[in-house]
Symmetry: C2
Subunit: 496 residues, 2 copies
């Protein structure tokens, strides 16, 4: 084996970044799940200091030289993939001055923290005060990244979450969906209107819900020895691959929302828990992208979690948790879990109306970042697009409108498309699984989920960032992202 001194220097630096990032990630989880309100100022200062320090490590001038020299070294294919990811991380960091990184962290923390009170208070005006600053910083960041990467400003931000994805592609994919979605929603609604639906009768005690959630995601393979489930205002999957922190939220009148939400986060969690341990700490060992990440959460929540065969396994657990009632009969439970109904809230949307929520946000955040509209313009656009896409009136209801998501509060522009790209990928993975295992649905109905997990482990989880998203998809399923599978999945589940 030839010596690779420059490459080795880089891996040492990235191991250090991974270790320090562990503390950053933990503090982010704690901030959302555990921190008392008065802790926020000190936490924001601590995270800002850390962000600045990690940024200084990433912009050490010695790294540029090490990357250039490593390119000339005799690297294995895996090392070369790692170097590609290192270069990508390095390029993004070096496009930004430290002061911007600090301002971004401070403004995001401030806006997110105030939002926790502003959302329940429906206080759009109060939110705008902080949000304008978050937006201004995001635009400055987008401008700098755009210059350095030679892509549009929005694409430069989206690239952080889904490397290489362009708004030209998203426009095309979402344009297709926009063409068939309203018709499909209409057809499904008409069909479901003829079904008898027995509503579940609550209340559903929070402790019983928590135990049910833990039991179900335990069955789905989430390792509680290497992770936790807690409560936060906005559910997420945080922590580190070695210690995954899922969150959910409970409402006494509705157990399905927290259950499906927890199953969703468990999909993220298993991806993280099954990233390759041998390379851990290096960029190549990180999850490929957020679209691929969402493809895992949606594989769990939608492809598997709402699969009639899986729901039949779930029904007895629901009875154990809350006692028997007619609503928990498997076929009825499945109807409840696949009920299509336009609503205000993205995270509570069914999988058919969900893309409408994402398209709406994409169509607002793209011109927002590009400077074509301003923060003040959001509510009017929101109202008109909600009416157009889902036929519901959101005027004056900021709480269940543009204030409902955490993403924008922290400047996370460019993330939303990943949800629907992920839904498309999830359908594509299950189509590939069914080609490889024609009896897949029978296996799921028999409670044999091992085949699904094995396929995901082999094709997605352990591949981490070894390949680009396109290469990963090609290797896993024989083609790059093809939205036809998503449409076919919806038609098969909701119209056949």
């Amino acid at each position: 084996m030839q010596a690779t001194p420059a490459y080795d220097t880089l891996t040492r630096t990235y191991t250090r970044l991974h270790r320090l990032g562990h503390l950053q990630s933990l503090a982010g989880w704690d901030q959302a799940a555990k921190m008392p309100p008065k802790g926020n100022v000190a936490r924001a200062a601590a995270l800002t200091e850390m962000a600045a320090m990690l940024h200084r490590m990433r912009t050490d001038p010695a790294l540029a030289d090490a990357i250039a020299r490593a390119e000339q070294e005799a690297l294995s294919e895996l090392q070369r993939a790692n170097l590609r990811e290192i270069r990508r991380d390095w390029q993004r960091a070096n496009a930004l001055p430290e002061s911007l990184v600090q301002r971004r962290q401070m403004a995001g923390s401030r806006c997110e923290h105030a939002w926790r009170q502003q959302r329940p208070a429906n206080d759009w005006k109060g939110f705008l005060g902080n949000f304008r600053e978050v937006l201004a910083i995001a635009r400055e960041e987008a401008e700098r990244l755009s210059e350095c990467m030679g892509v549009s400003r929005y694409d430069a931000l989206m690239d952080r979450f889904e490397p290489g994805m362009t708004s030209a592609t998203v426009d095309r994919l979402f344009g297709e969906v926009r063409a068939w979605l309203p018709g499909l929603i209409c057809q499904v609604r008409e069909r479901q209107g003829r079904e008898t639906l027995i509503p579940p009768v609550g209340p559903f005690p929070v402790e019983a819900q928590r135990r049910l959630c833990e039991r179900v995601i335990g069955l789905l393979g989430f390792d509680f020895e290497a992770g936790r489930l807690d409560v936060s205002a906005h559910p997420f999957c945080g922590g580190v691959p070695e210690d995954v922190r899922l969150t959910t939220r409970f409402a006494e009148d509705d157990f399905l929302s927290s259950l499906l939400g927890t199953v969703h986060e468990a999909g993220h969690g298993r991806y993280e828990q099954n990233l390759p341990r041998d390379w851990l700490g290096q960029p190549v060992a990180e999850a490929r992208s957020m679209a691929v990440h969402e493809s895992q959460s949606l594989s769990f929540e939608m492809q598997l979690g709402s699969h009639p065969g899986f729901v039949a396994q779930l029904a007895p657990l629901v009875v154990q948790a809350f006692g028997a009632q007619p609503a928990f009969e498997p076929a009825n439970l499945h109807r409840l879990m696949t009920r299509v109904k336009p609503g205000f809230i993205r995270v509570e949307a069914d999988e058919v109306t969900y893309p409408a929520h994402v398209i709406l946000r994409y169509e607002i955040e793209k011109p927002l970042v590009e400077g074509e509209i301003e923060a003040e313009d959001i509510p009017a656009l929101w109202d008109s697009k909600m009416m157009e896409l889902l036929g519901i009136d959101t005027r004056g209801n900021y709480r269940d409108g543009p204030l409902q998501d955490v993403h924008w509060t922290e400047g996370g522009f460019g993330y939303f498309p990943c949800y629907s790209l992920g839904a498309m990928f999830a359908a594509q993975w299950f189509a590939a699984m069914r080609r490889a295992m024609p009896d897949l649905d029978a296996r799921i109905a028999a409670g044999d989920l091992g085949a699904v997990f094995d396929w995901l482990r082999e094709h997605i989880w352990t591949q981490a960032s070894r390949w680009t998203t396109d290469e990963l998809a090609l290797r896993a399923s024989g083609e790059t992202l093809n939205p036809a599978h998503f449409k076919a999945h919806l038609e098969s589940r909701y119209l056949s």
Copy 2:
């Protein structure tokens, strides 16, 4: 106002250390209170990386020059006190090489984590494997600090917790206690043997215990908007002044242990929550020392918590929590809370036998650090000293013997004396309060605790590290540490 550029450089560095230390402290709390077991290796690596980085910041050669120049600047009295604390911190850090700091962190994490399983398994042999490494590193640290500070090796370690304290002083103080303690225990036991004691009848559901603890420490002024109460194997007060994380542990058959333990931690917590906000981030704004810290926890737990007037307030809350029973009658509850009984476990000891536990540990850890005995010698010494001091047989019972505390697992040698020094200080503070407010006991009995908190806030909490411990004691109580107050307190409470 004159410019103080060198001093300003130092305060900027120490603000950064404070902010990054926030993440370190949070991760320490999480490790004990929330982290799943498989997270430990990654957490230890992260904390080690952080410890090394903070050490590099503290040993930046530019600091030596800045300290020397700051000494010549026109500083206020407060700034000068801060500079004294900075110099102290700087001196201790610069005595140690980075490799030792890393090894100490790794070995401590490993030993503490394994101890969690080894203690319940009574596995002294398994513990020794890790502990020998912890001890070797602590000795190396003590040796280096000793050379640099010109004090003995044990004193050099103790100085981290109680600056300026010497084993000569501790020997003298503990020597006095050793002289009267066995006799006092005997007298008290004889007297209490004649009392009727109604034992409480459990079980006491954990949720009811948790609510009771939260209610009581709320009454004691702990601010839940700036802190939390969680569960850990070994109760402690962690977090940061802006966000204090208390922990306790619950057993269904005994509510008094968790209640008094929580009150103890709340004393630490209020000290932290009331440190001066204006200087926060600077060493002068930190708690004075661990003996002073323990004087706060013991002011809460012993001086106040077991005060007959306070117990009378507590009794109705206990009834609310668990329902009425004869044991909860105030006088009986007070007898339960002040019952003196030699036992295995330090943290469950009454305040009369407690010093025996501390003296035993001090008499073992001092020669251990000085290299006069080895780790293998601990059990035999433990057994003979427990028999000598408390008359109980601990042979073969490592779990409730030398494996019971977390301190040694992490190399925290030199901490134990602070508990008893703190008990002495607490008695001294209350003696000073009674001189200033002759009606203090009547006020406490009337539920008016404001006078106690005001006194502690004015004389201890807001003074932080502005003065040395001796100066602080002198200003607060008119004298430096005087153990006569502790003896008088015990005689008054237990023999009068």
